[in-house]
């Protein structure tokens, strides 16, 4: 990991409240592994927001690094107003990464909301390694859908669920995945999304390994402050920023 000052190349709205930001960084592009995140200092002189904000790296193309985010508060709102050429202070790459071996059979990737972002890089890497990849994407409605075409280009099958049924399956993405799981015989499952979604996946008690990328409020992003701890089996504490963000879903408590 390094502290880097980068210049924004592009910061565009790609769906309702959803933005895709990119910048060039040879170091990050070379060292990126799917699942990694960066800690961005949005404004150096600001005392509100004060802390850096963690964002997963969505994917990398050449030297260009793509970060996706949803405007939810002051920090992301300020970030959304930045334009090409503005400098941002980036700390990364941080955290562990998804396992991207060659699996003998199909792989399922499930994403919900902004949790979909890191799955682009994951799916690309899984495909590069010769895996067959089905991706299940859950959105609120048609207006909040993003990067679907990109997934269609990468994956063998792209299945969509929307809460209001405006596109694809009407209902949540876990139900859609569950309906497909038994017939597809997936060898491994990867997921990222809101806690209720991850909890529902965990409760499926899948007969195969399932890895989830988690998030929690964090201050340092490198394992020093212990704010983003998560309880594992046998009272073991893990830290989402440094032991994660990717965990075997059965090894951690998702509350």
């Amino acid at each position: 990991m390094k502290l880097l000052e980068v210049e924004i190349e592009e910061n565009v709205k790609i769906a309702n409240e959803i933005f895709l930001l990119s910048f060039e960084s040879e170091y990050l592009a070379e060292n990126f592994k799917p699942g990694n995140f960066v800690n961005i200092l949005i404004d150096k002189d600001s005392i509100y927001p004060l802390l850096r904000r963690p964002f997963s790296i969505s994917f990398v193309e050449g030297k260009r690094v793509y970060i996706g985010y949803k405007v939810v508060g002051k920090g992301t709102n300020l970030l959304s107003q930045k334009s090409k050429g503005e400098a941002i202070d980036v700390l990364g790459p941080l955290g562990n990464s998804f396992l991207t071996d060659i699996f003998d059979g199909k792989v399922a990737v499930i994403g919900g909301g902004v949790g979909i972002f890191p799955l682009v890089g994951l799916c690309k890497e899984l495909k590069n390694r010769g895996n067959k990849v089905d991706v299940f994407l859950g959105f609120r409605d048609l207006d909040s859908m993003f990067l679907v075409e990109r997934f269609k280009d990468i994956c063998d099958n792209t299945l969509i669920a929307t809460d209001d049924g405006s596109s694809g399956y009407k209902g949540n993405v876990v139900e859609l995945f569950k309906a497909n799981f038994s017939k597809a015989e997936y060898k491994v499952v990867f997921c990222c999304g809101p806690k209720p979604m991850l909890k529902a996946i965990k409760n499926l008690n899948l007969p195969v390994k399932c890895y989830a990328s988690l998030e929690e409020k964090m201050a340092c992003g490198i394992g020093a402050c212990l704010c983003c701890s998560i309880r594992g089996k046998d009272e073991k504490m893990y830290h989402i920023c440094s032991d994660g963000p990717v965990f075997d879903i059965m090894e951690v408590e998702i509350e």
């Binding site: 005392i47 004060l50 802390l51 700390l91 929690e216 020093a224 212990l226 701890s229 504490m237």
Partner: protein, 300 residues
């Protein structure tokens, strides 16, 4: 310019100390910066037994600050001595062990174990995020006296007592610590605080309240250092919302011999470099020959 300062006979090559709870055991930050840049590193709070800490969420951000309730998650003193201390000792910086107990006997036991292994011990009588010990002891001058005295009786290294700001008059705690033989005091720990999500009407911290740190608390911390400086003769280590060299200078003028930086490490891991450079430039610019000349040198 020589930035060296001395606390109870321990010479720090500069007055910038990494604050407890914000710097782990140095390992994480050593991948980003040269942690030997610090005059000293104050470790994550250590208890006798391993602690898993408080439930999530442990952190929220408020105007000009953050509220945390980590709850002293730490691997326990044995793991600290075996796994963390050898690593920390490989750097050219002093080591201050921050210790926490839930009874006087635990502070004494921890001091016995650590006194010959570290340069100084910071007795944390001020953690706001545990139900027993911590701030509960630290609010009562008699308890501060009793624990400090007991720890001093078994200590061969200097003892710093870390005070809580969550009292009407912090100077009573400072005086009690000095009377009991403390070699120095450090202040302030975080301020008890709370934030609520108005949509869900739920507190943003699982434990309901937590400790506020960051720029929001700096004026309070400066005032408390100033008040304590007038009441005690032992060195004061000042902290609370220091984000840059100017903030640090305020603490020296108010009466601090050294400073600790905490929250800023999360935001700017290179703050130690910038703060040291800024202090040096300031002393040069103002014609001071040492930090000692600046300590408590206030124009009123």
């Amino acid at each position: 310019m020589n930035l060296e300062v001395e606390i109870a006979g321990v010479r720090l090559k500069n007055p910038v100390i990494a604050a407890s709870g914000t710097f782990g055991f140095g390992r994480e930050y050593s991948k980003l910066i040269d942690i030997s840049e610090f005059g000293a590193i104050c470790t994550k709070g250590i208890t006798l037994k391993k602690r898993i800490g408080n439930p999530q969420p442990r952190l929220c951000e408020v105007y000009a600050g953050i509220i945390n309730s980590v709850g002293l998650e730490n691997p326990g003193v044995e793991a600290f001595v075996n796994d963390e201390l050898p690593f920390l000792k490989s750097f050219d910086t002093k080591i201050i062990a921050n210790i926490n107990g839930f009874a006087k006997e635990e502070f004494v036991e921890l001091t016995k174990i650590l006194t010959s292994l570290v340069d100084m011990i910071e007795v944390n009588l001020s953690c706001p995020n545990v139900k027993e010990g911590g701030m509960v002891f630290g609010k009562d001058p008699e308890k501060v006296y009793e624990i400090t005295n007991s720890v001093k009786n078994v200590a061969s290294c200097p003892i710093i007592v870390k005070l809580t700001p969550n009292v009407t008059d912090i100077t009573q705690l400072a005086v009690a610590a000095e009377k009991a033989g403390a070699d120095a005091i450090s202040l302030i720990n975080t301020i008890s605080a709370m934030a609520i999500d108005i949509e869900t009407r739920k507190p943003l911290i699982q434990m309901v309240t937590g400790g506020l740190s960051g720029p929001a608390i700096k004026p309070i911390a400066v005032r408390m250092v100033y008040e304590c400086f007038k009441k005690v003769r032992i060195p004061i280590i000042g902290m609370g919302g220091i984000m840059n060299y100017k903030d640090a200078i305020e603490f020296f003028i108010a009466g601090a011999t050294a400073i600790q930086i905490g929250t800023v490490n999360f935001i700017n891991p290179k703050a130690v470099y910038e703060i040291k450079e800024g202090i040096e430039d300031y002393l040069d610019r103002k014609g001071f020959n040492s930090i000692r000349e600046l300590v408590g040198n206030i124009n009123i």
